[in-house]
Symmetry: D2
Subunit: 265 residues, 4 copies
């Protein structure tokens, strides 16, 4: 399907402030960017680099005063995210090198402290995809998805004590449990067409059966309409914006996404 | 300055044919992509990856029949390319690691066979930027820029026997001479706003005085309005399209570029 | 100075177990490996790859039973680690791209929760090297270095509640505070010639004044004789061994290091 | 099998000269370095980095006068190099991204000029491994392996006009033909235990059937005992030493390799 998506960030900046941004989707295996805009108001110079996870990152200094960033794009994505019940567990010694960093604990996914919980959760479940699915079901059943809550980012250990959480939190818990079972898992930030209420979204992917599969504890089914903006170990790697120095005020954030016909430019 | 540029490639494809494309400019140190479109007709799935030089490359299989690729973008670039007469030569042992591959001979820049010529060309010239400038002047004076000629790509040794050449050839000769003097040099493919007649363009950059500088043997001055699409060792690395298998017929190629006001989307 | 160092790890392995190892030092800017050995007993096949931080990592499956790894090497390193009181703070927008991941919070360095503490610690101190030195002094004064304690890895927040800690803990706290001040900081695991009692060691580096500098909260002065084995965000990235699956028993670990004359092989 | 190998290079250096070296083997998929030495006489400081092909490269400035480099190592390698008659051709669109640079023409492998020759050579042969084998047979039959000749490196086009050649030349011709058939091919420099007379050796690898396979036009069979030192597009990428500036005099080069029992250090 083709989607048109946009994200508007409006800041009030007290003093000139360096930003690191991840707002430009890349054409990847399951998505093709047909058109894209990236507008800084006022216009400031910015540079772009590719981070260790392959994300396109923008660097700029936001000038004091009102500052806005608007990105929008037309993108073709899968109608349905692939699922693969029964996909096998890949022994660590056979994992591709580039998946190994996603086995290690990270800021918000203390997988080193989830061995016991993860093991008992998946008792009797076939290693691999089905274990991930079991973990996701558990999260969905025990934690209520409460979008809009939770400005401060909390870690999987902290999430595990709560009964409601945002998408990011639920992804962190899922990632921590998968890694504790030696299944590489990574965070994805992006858009989901059917999300209610509309916002940016976070989910995770696990590497089983020889490829990455989407898992989303906030949703009952694996509908498609997903746009990935950034991949990383957890929210620390994939913040759509990271600012340094004196805190700035995000006054408004507007996210939209809708299906469109295949564009003819 | 802000530029709007576009490139249209129309092919007649005899059988399904894999392509490797470099047509998506990246926001870099001297350019910021404000808006961008990439249209494949008919629409086919494509994936994108970053090559070892940092270029965004697209992979797809062009279906038999008529197939067109149209890219266009609004981009902010420097009004004038930086120049730095007198910028010093950097001894090899102090060069950053990532510049070293640009010292080695490559397919179309047989720098291993230009030591003598390059040395005598720059006799008495201060090492560094001024040597590059001397080489460029020599090329400009001895070879007539003859845009539109030369479908087959020829190498610096072959260029050196000719009296007229295309931009790509002249860049190859410049690169070979710089490398023969232990100055890292790399090929750039892109757009030049003032080019006559309009086409895609090629020039080169040399690493002196601690950074890369633009050199263009086809132009009398270093006017800006340059958009870099791809960087590499030579034309082999930065072909805007590489096709594999049965040759395809490029029926039409249209390139345009023009100044625009700073866009308000 | 030239050093000879060795590390012996003896395991009792209950079932065949995949390992990820970082035990091979690389010749780098301040160290040159003259001779090196890496012995697996019993001999098993192993492969090596370079991780995103540039470390040489070995992968193997340790067979059930007694399994030992012995590495040793002759290496030339600096007599004294460089220090640079007064070295300036580099504004985030001017930092090299590759230092940026070391600004983000990580598993054991929750820099996102140290803004207030770090700011008050360095009040009145010139931004840059001197801030790092102040942080290190604070850690040295408030936490007693207690080598040998602390098998479980704890995070900077947890360290901050304690009065004694191991080298790794003290480095984590230093890193978290530096990052909270927008100074890139990274973990180093390696050897220190004068360490008492002898063991593997951990310290950190901070990026100020245009390069990385060594900081070591466990030591009163910046003596050299340091061998870096691995660099990373924190202990999660630089474990000398990571094992997956059923826990193995490390029965013995012997570390030695001593000065030697410049070797003539 | 376990091998002990060594390489001694003795230079007479007229003025301080920067060198780029590739003399340190890495533990890889088919080889494990058990012990290794790298001796510079006189001792000079050197740094090491990983090049875009994953090779460990050393940089140093050789001081005027006599200068020698001696590397030696114990290494475990395969007894027989894998072969796979019938292994299938991988369509370009399904090749891993990292193999794509090995499809392009390079300094000494002008694959762009071998389409016709390569196609007629393999007429009627099943695409993939068997095409590579056919090419290798053709080279072996038409060009006599004449070790020790050919100080100047020549390119595949030049090799193709000759009746005798060195290992490097024969590899270049094989690579050029494979790439012309859209089969990724790369140069390998290293040691071969059974080589007569003993010297460093060069062969190539082609990517078919989902992995890289060894091909060696100089040998009648695929005996093992191969140690890879460096991989690249061609000889330009994998020179064991590249020197810059005033030519130096390589006075002596001694290479040895022999089987040893599995070492117990």
């Amino acid at each position: 399907m083709w989607l048109h998506a946009s994200c508007l960030l409006e800041f009030d900046i007290p003093v000139d402030t360096p930003f690191l941004l991840m707002l430009r989707p890349r054409s990847g295996n399951q998505q093709w960017v047909g058109r894209e805009q990236y507008v800084l108001t006022p216009s400031v110079s910015a540079v772009e680099f590719t981070d260790p996870f392959g994300n396109l990152c923008q660097r700029l200094v936001a000038p004091a005063g009102e500052f806005s960033i608007k990105t929008s794009f037309d993108i073709q994505v899968a109608d349905v995210s692939d699922s693969a019940p029964g996909a096998y567990f890949i022994p660590v010694e056979q994992l591709p090198d580039e998946t190994l960093p996603f086995l290690l604990p990270s800021r918000y996914c203390e997988s080193d402290r989830f061995s016991q919980m993860a093991s008992s959760l998946v008792e009797g479940v076939a290693p691999g995809y089905d274990q991930c699915a079991k973990i996701v079901n558990y999260i969905r059943e025990t934690i209520t998805y409460a979008p809009g809550e939770g400005q401060e980012i909390i870690s999987a250990c902290e999430v595990n004590e709560k009964t409601q959480a945002v998408c990011r939190d639920m992804a962190h818990l899922g990632i921590a449990c998968c890694r504790a079972l030696s299944i590489p898992a990574r965070m994805v930030v992006g858009y989901l067409e059917t999300l209610e209420p509309m916002d940016l979204h976070a989910w995770f992917e696990a590497y089983v059966g020889g490829r990455w599969y989407v898992f989303d504890p906030t949703q009952d089914n694996l509908q498609g309409g997903r746009v990935a903006i950034a991949y990383g170990r957890d929210a620390a790697d994939v913040a759509i914006y990271t600012q340094f120095g004196t805190p700035v005020d995000l006054q408004q954030m507007q996210v939209s996404i809708e299906q469109i016909p295949a564009p003819v430019y």
